[in-house]
């Protein structure tokens, strides 16, 4: 460890670590564009300059290793002057179109200009014009004029995704970021270049002009897209509902977690937020014999009575439950309490549907596109409690052994296809509980709306067994309740029905 002085304070840091890192750990944020913890430090933006006593010129703190006893001033007049000169140079050809720029509000140029800018422009020449509003990929829009040439994005494509779509072309003041010839920025992690771009040069095509960033509320959450469990920040727009095309979830940004996802998330997870409120179930419905809205209490007590009746008449072996890793740890606990302990169900199905399996790569994406299979396994689901296969369950229904089906957030019709109708018509009771509408929902006797992951808080256990909390970002839509709450209420209703049956029998 080495001790050095930063702005008059004694700071401990590892010998040889960078001053900019040591300063951040000590609570002093040194302005920077090009430096990024995982993308190296080319030192070309010259914004992180600090004054070092004994050094003849200001030094670039992102390339300056800590040495014992060095004295660093990050806010001395010399450092500030160097910084504001560098910023002035960055702004020479910047179009200053903040009113139309989506980055406004979270822009490095804006923030540092307010702190370090020279408010009087000395530039009398016309600004240089470059390419504006160029879609360079399915998700990213490029504006070369706003670029400060920090090269974070080119380094991302070359070092992280190793796809090399972006590069710097031209020389001198005509230098510009552009696509490599014949390529488009369409790798599965392309959205990350928008996050790392400190200015408005790379903006999100999906988010473009939907809502201003300062209207958004930010909630820490966990991406439910696969079993990696990437840490995300869910940005929601609830105060001004006329923006963002009326959707509540505006965008998803990665949240740094060195152990799970680093600074990145995949595009699949990032752009899943627009579907958050699509095709939602809002009302508790009884669909058979006739479709009708029904209260939670009535629905759950009717389901309980039907369960009790059928168990008494046809035995508990006739009930099957289909669930998946979309349930949180809390949901799994409630699931175990009712289906294993209270109802003693013997047929479970946890096997994913084909569309719940997807692509996998070494960076982040995992094959199982559900977040929490591990959480179920921790309670024995899929390990001690064996899962049926889709075929075996279909056969059991076919042979009439099964009278009831409780489906949580799944869609068997995707597997059973045209057989589905025949199979389901044989059943006495189908309960469908999910945040989203699916084809199977229309066959159910009861349809119970559950909350999406953004409307509840809970925990996911990722594929490595790491348990992570996600927080509630939005109010539940319609009458939706968290899965664990529905299951817990159902259990209570079922016990009540049972005790009535017992007292009735004793009379």
């Amino acid at each position: 460890m080495a001790q050095f002085t930063l702005d008059g304070k004694k700071v401990e840091a590892k010998e040889g670590s960078l001053v900019i890192d040591a300063a951040r750990e000590a609570g002093t944020e040194i302005p920077h564009y090009c430096y990024h913890p995982t993308l190296g430090n080319p030192g070309n933006c010259r914004l992180c300059v600090v004054e070092v006593e004994g050094a003849p010129k200001p030094m670039v703190s992102c390339r300056l290793p800590v040495k014992e006893g060095m004295v660093v001033h990050s806010n001395s007049p010399q450092a500030l002057r160097a910084r504001s000169s560098a910023l002035e140079l960055h702004l020479v050809n910047h179009p200053l179109d903040c009113p139309v720029c989506d980055q406004a509000g979270e822009c490095g140029l804006q923030d540092y200009y307010m702190k370090h800018g020279q408010y009087e422009s000395q530039v009398r020449e016309n600004k240089l014009h470059k390419k504006k509003r160029v879609p360079i990929g399915p998700h990213v829009m490029l504006d070369q004029e706003r670029c400060v040439l920090c090269t974070r994005c080119t380094r991302f494509t070359s070092e992280v995704t190793k796809t090399h779509e972006l590069g710097i072309f031209g020389r001198g003041h005509k230098e510009a970021i552009d696509l490599a010839p014949g390529k488009t920025l369409d790798n599965p992690y392309s959205g990350n270049v928008v996050d790392i771009c400190p200015v408005g040069a790379l903006t999100d095509r999906d988010f473009r002009y939907k809502v201003r960033v300062w209207y958004l509320d930010k909630t820490n959450s966990i991406c439910p897209g696969c079993s990696r469990g990437c840490n995300i920040s869910l940005h929601t727009n609830t105060k001004r509902p006329w923006h963002n095309e009326g959707r509540r979830a505006a965008r998803i940004k990665p949240r740094h977690n060195a152990e799970i996802n680093g600074y990145w998330i995949c595009d699949e997870g990032r752009y899943s937020c627009s579907k958050l409120d699509e095709d939602r179930l809002g009302k508790v419905m009884q669909l058979k014999p006739a479709p009708a809205e029904i209260s939670w209490d009535a629905a759950l007590s009717e389901i309980s009575q039907s369960l009790a009746k059928n168990i008494e008449e046809k035995g508990k072996e006739g009930l099957a439950v289909i669930a998946s890793g979309l349930l949180s740890n809390e949901d799994w606990a409630g699931f175990k309490k009712i289906f294993v302990e209270a109802l003693k169900v013997s047929h479970f199905l946890f096997t994913p549907e084909p569309d719940q399996m997807g692509e996998e790569d070494e960076l982040l994406r995992k094959k199982e596109k559900v977040p929490n299979l591990k959480g179920g396994e921790a309670l024995g689901f899929g390990t001690q409690i064996k899962s049926e296969s889709w075929e075996s369950l279909a056969q059991k229904i076919e042979s009439g052994k099964i009278w009831g089906l409780y489906i949580l957030e799944r869609d068997p019709s995707k597997v059973w296809k045209e057989k589905t109708k025949n199979l389901l018509d044989k059943l006495e009771l189908i309960v469908f509980q999910s945040p989203y509408k699916t084809a199977i929902g229309n066959w159910a006797h009861y349809r119970l709306p559950a909350t999406s992951y953004a409307e509840e808080e809970g925990h996911f256990t990722n594929f490595e067994g790491k348990i992570q909390k996600y927080e509630q970002a939005l109010l539940p839509l319609g009458e939706a309740l968290p899965d664990w709450d529905i299951l817990q209420k159902l259990e209570r209703h079922y016990k009540e029905v049972q005790s009535h049956a017992l007292t009735g029998a004793s009379k």
Binding site: P99, V100, K132, R133, Y209, R240, H243
Partner: protein, 177 residues
């Protein structure tokens, strides 16, 4: 701006003020003077003789309202030389509006230079507090509060909402509500 405190000393109590009657008499003198001078002026005017007006009242609907030079009145949106609205939908006015009466929905503009424009722009004049922050905040000088229109009325609250076309034209379209 520092707050300045001016100490006001209470006038000393004297007999004249204590008995009160004299002060009442002085006050009555003032009001009587106004009464008779104004009565005289009204009478002269009624007789057709030119004189100072006896009252400062403006008979508003018949006589036009007298507005100060910097009076903030109903908003108007400005156009560019080519006739398109100047507004780039930066949403600064919507953000600063303390009454939250401005609603803008942005969209992509076909013009690459303009880039962004307002798809819809509405001001609920029933909510507006006429603070003028929107005109102050506008970076492209697209919104002004100098229409000199102060007679903004409607029979229905939703008729107080003016949309972009109406703000550009400065005329409420009765069919839009």
């Amino acid at each position: 701006m520092a707050i300045k405190i001016k100490e006001v000393t209470r006038p000393p109590k004297n007999f004249q003020g204590q008995i009160y009657l004299w002060e009442v008499w002085l006050g009555l003198l003032v009001t009587f003077r106004h009464l008779f001078v104004n009565l005289g002026r009204h009478t002269l005017k009624a007789l057709g003789i030119k004189t100072e007006p006896g009252a400062v009242t403006i008979q508003y609907p018949e006589d036009p309202a007298v507005l100060g030079k910097r009076a903030r009145t109903r908003h108007r949106l400005l156009k560019r030389d080519d006739g398109t609205p100047r507004c780039t939908a930066c949403l600064l006015c919507e953000t600063i509006c303390p009454a939250k009466c401005i609603r803008i929905v942005a969209e992509e503009s076909p013009d690459v230079i303009v880039e962004k424009r307002a798809k819809s722009f509405s001001i609920d004049l029933g909510l507006c507090v006429f603070c003028g922050y929107c005109a102050e905040a506008c970076p492209v000088d697209a919104i002004h509060m100098d229409s000199t229109d102060v007679a903004i009325t409607a029979y229905d609250r939703k008729d107080m909402i003016w949309n972009m076309a109406e703000l550009l034209e400065g005329k409420k379209n009765p069919a839009s509500a």
